[in-house]
């Protein structure tokens, strides 16, 4: 067990050390956080990661290219599709595969559904973090529908293994579009319901406004991305700033917060779900007919070289850096995972707040531990 830096030195009589995790209800997995406390006030914080380190990057070096895709699912089990995407895009870029138009639209649709799934789960988990036990059931009602849609398409409910190199394994289900339409028709109202239930609640706003304020410069210095960065008022979204796939064809807004506090990050995710619904509507309308998979050689052997691809996942920028030496297996893969950078900023914004705030702030960062540990 690693000792926190402040555990090595002598602490004053007023303070004590509290070990939060690795088994704790609100560290969402096996993250250990060592807190130095003065009464209820946090005076020191040290996140200790690596409890479920599974050396995914090393394992990838011994797998063929097409066998690596399921591993990327397991990095972030809540928005697996986006993580697939960054990886398969890297291989496609190395091999110079051009995707059929239909496959691109299908990818966008699955990715946005996945974003909604992830945000809905975050919403429920955050409710539990602040002691509201009811919202989870309302969010899961809709999440279940989304999962059913994606399951019908891919066969998986959590780790879908949705994308293949070059496109998809199968086409969209026949009733996919009608189910999507039915879901989107009521989803807007449901988001308003979530906001009324939790986000705009008096107690919750009192607990989160002005708590865990992350200013723009600190966020950028720490390499924070995704909703956490946008919550600080920085309108950076890879779907807009570095459009990949067909994202440049859609009309959507990059939502931003004003103050960079916890509440802004909550509200922002609600708005993002609205934008995702908007993209889904447009994609369903624009979906072209045609092939769902490009012509891919049987043996995947990219030319030697290196490549970096990035996508905007539900948690931020997920990047894959890959070096190929011309064999069937990659020479080296490095994943740039958003939660790792987002966690590093936790200390900066938590010192001086209460124990309960640590939980709320951590919840608003939306961490997924396997992706931090890899």
């Amino acid at each position: 067990m690693i000792k926190a830096p402040f555990e090595m030195e002598k602490i004053s009589d007023e303070e004590y050390i509290l070990n939060m995790g690795p088994q704790h209800p609100s560290t969402h997995g096996v993250l250990r956080i060592v807190l130095k406390l003065d009464g209820e006030v946090v005076t020191g914080l040290y996140p200790d990661v690596g409890y479920i380190h599974s050396s995914v990057e090393k394992m990838c070096e011994n797998k063929k290219f097409e066998m690596i895709t399921p591993y990327t699912d397991r990095l972030d089990y809540l928005s697996a599709v986006n993580y697939n995407w960054a990886y398969v895009a890297a291989v496609e870029k190395l091999m110079g595969i051009q995707l059929p138009e239909r496959a691109e639209y299908m990818r966008v649709m699955l990715a946005e559904l996945n974003r909604i799934m992830s945000h809905l789960l975050w919403y429920s988990a955050f409710g539990m973090d602040v002691g509201a036990l009811t919202p989870i059931f309302y969010a899961f009602r809709e999440r279940e529908e989304v999962i059913d849609m994606v399951e019908g398409m891919t066969g998986g409910r959590l780790t879908h293994h949705a994308f293949r190199i070059g496109g998809f394994k199968n086409d969209l289900q026949k009733d996919f579009l009608s189910r999507l339409e039915k879901f989107l028709a009521k989803f807007e109202d449901r988001i308003c319901e979530y906001e009324a239930l939790l986000i705009n609640n008096v107690i919750l706003t009192a607990r989160t406004k002005g708590v865990g304020v992350l200013d723009k410069d600190t966020a950028i210095n720490y390499g924070v991305t995704g909703p956490v960065l946008r919550g600080s008022g920085c309108a950076i979204d890879l779907r807009k700033n570095a459009p990949y796939s067909v994202y440049s064809k859609f009309d959507f807004r990059v939502c931003t917060g004003k103050n960079g506090d916890t509440w802004d990050r909550l509200k922002l995710r609600m708005d993002e779900m609205r934008e995702s619904a908007k993209i889904l509507k447009q994609a369903a309308a624009m979906l072209p007919a045609g092939e769902f998979c490009a012509k891919v050689p049987r043996v995947i052997k990219p030319a030697p070289g290196e490549v970096y691809t990035k996508v905007e996942s539900a948690r931020g920028e997920f990047g894959v850096y890959m070096v190929s030496d011309g064999t069937e297996k990659p020479y080296r893969i490095k994943f740039r995972s958003p939660s790792f950078s987002n966690l590093s900023v936790l200390k900066e914004i938590t010192i001086g707040s209460k124990i309960a705030d640590v939980v709320a702030i951590m919840g608003s960062l939306d961490l997924v531990i396997p992706e931090i540990d890899r």
Binding site: P25, G131, L133, A356, D357, V359
Partner: protein, 350 residues
């Protein structure tokens, strides 16, 4: 039949007749009278405890069903008809579970804490009028007795927090002490206003004071609201469940407790909920009074009405933060309760 009706509607008279009849027989046998009184007391205590434990099991079921209703679930529905035996099964499970004692605990306070919480909770019910004349012991300082005895439970929570040798428990215990002490003050002030209006501290007297007039909930509406909030905080339920805040403190002061010791905390929590609701019903909603139905039925209807409100609050709101909790009590509730008391006193005087 007539006796049963008399017993239901005007329990005081037949009970005292029965008592004097027994005393006469007892004296005929040449036994001292205090012994019979002692036996009577024992029977009453046992009866009240049995009713309360069963009632606590039922409230747990009721709370779970209400939560299921709010969370679009079905709730317990497997054990017994409509899942009615679920809580009984849970209790049996807790009874036969291994009783774990962690290392380096303060064994005395660890063991005695569940009892300190459990016993006063039940002792309080001695002065509650369940029906007309159906008061186990009608003390003339009834409401004062309730306040004093409920104040004891904080010692139990502190002992549990200290004895567990766990930092989460300790924080939970300290939070609870601060919380109960600061919410007791507005609560007492509100009760004082009711006492002013009824002119007695006797619980049956407070009920009688509402018999020919409108219930105290109308003139004391602000007081009723403050009482509900403070009472909710006293029983440590959401949004005031900081002492056992699951997401922060794992389980607060009962983190290290298991098996029957945990069941004691659990039963005490729900009995406390019933107590707060029953006191609210007695002080503000006219106690056992009501048309058509027997008094004891009215008492339970009103109590369950208040319980439903408290459950509704619990399953709707997120948890409040510890500094806001203190602020809310000292900055808002206390001045309002004081104002309520002063206004009541002034109106009564003139």
């Amino acid at each position: 039949m007539a006796l049963l009706k008399e017993l239901l509607y005007n329990s005081g008279k037949p009970l005292s007749e029965f008592s004097s009849w027994m005393h006469a027989i007892w004296a005929g046998w040449g036994m001292p009278g205090f012994l019979l009184d002692f036996i009577f007391q024992l029977v009453i205590v046992l009866a009240v405890t049995a009713v309360l434990v069963l009632n606590a099991l039922w409230i747990i079921y009721y709370d779970r069903k209400i939560s299921a209703l709010m969370q679009i679930r079905k709730g317990p529905n497997r054990v017994g008809p409509f899942g009615l035996l679920q809580t009984l099964a849970d209790t049996v499970k807790l009874l036969i579970k291994e009783d774990v004692n962690p290392k380096k605990i303060d064994i005395l306070s660890f063991w005695i804490a569940p009892l300190i919480i459990f016993i006063p909770t039940f002792a309080v019910f001695l002065v509650l009028p369940f029906g007309n004349g159906l008061v186990p012991a009608d003390l003339n300082i009834g409401i004062l007795y309730i306040i004093a005895i409920t104040g004891l439970s904080v010692i139990g929570i502190l002992a549990a927090g200290w004895g567990s040798n766990n930092k989460y428990s300790l924080i939970g215990g300290m939070r609870s002490a601060a919380q109960i002490v600061s919410y007791e003050i507005p609560m007492v002030l509100v009760i004082l206003a009711v006492v002013l209006m009824s002119g007695t501290m006797k619980m049956s007297g407070i009920v009688a004071a509402q018999s020919n007039r409108v219930w105290f909930v109308v003139p004391q509406f602000l007081g009723f609201i403050i009482f509900l909030i403070a009472g909710n905080a006293e029983v440590n339920r959401a949004p005031f469940d900081l002492p056992e805040a699951e997401s922060e403190l794992v389980a607060g002061f009962n983190t290290e407790y298991s098996a029957m010791k945990f069941a004691f905390f659990y039963l005490a929590e729900y009995t406390n909920l019933f107590l707060t609701s029953a006191v609210a019903a007695t002080l503000f909603l006219g106690g056992w009074q009501g048309p058509f139905l027997p008094p004891i039925v009215w008492f339970f209807i009103k109590t369950y009405f208040v319980i439903t409100i408290l459950c509704w609050i619990r399953w709707t709101f997120p948890r409040i933060r510890v500094d806001q909790l203190m602020e809310f009590s000292w900055k808002y509730l206390l001045p309002l309760a004081l104002l309520n008391l002063v206004v009541t006193a002034v109106i009564l005087k003139f």
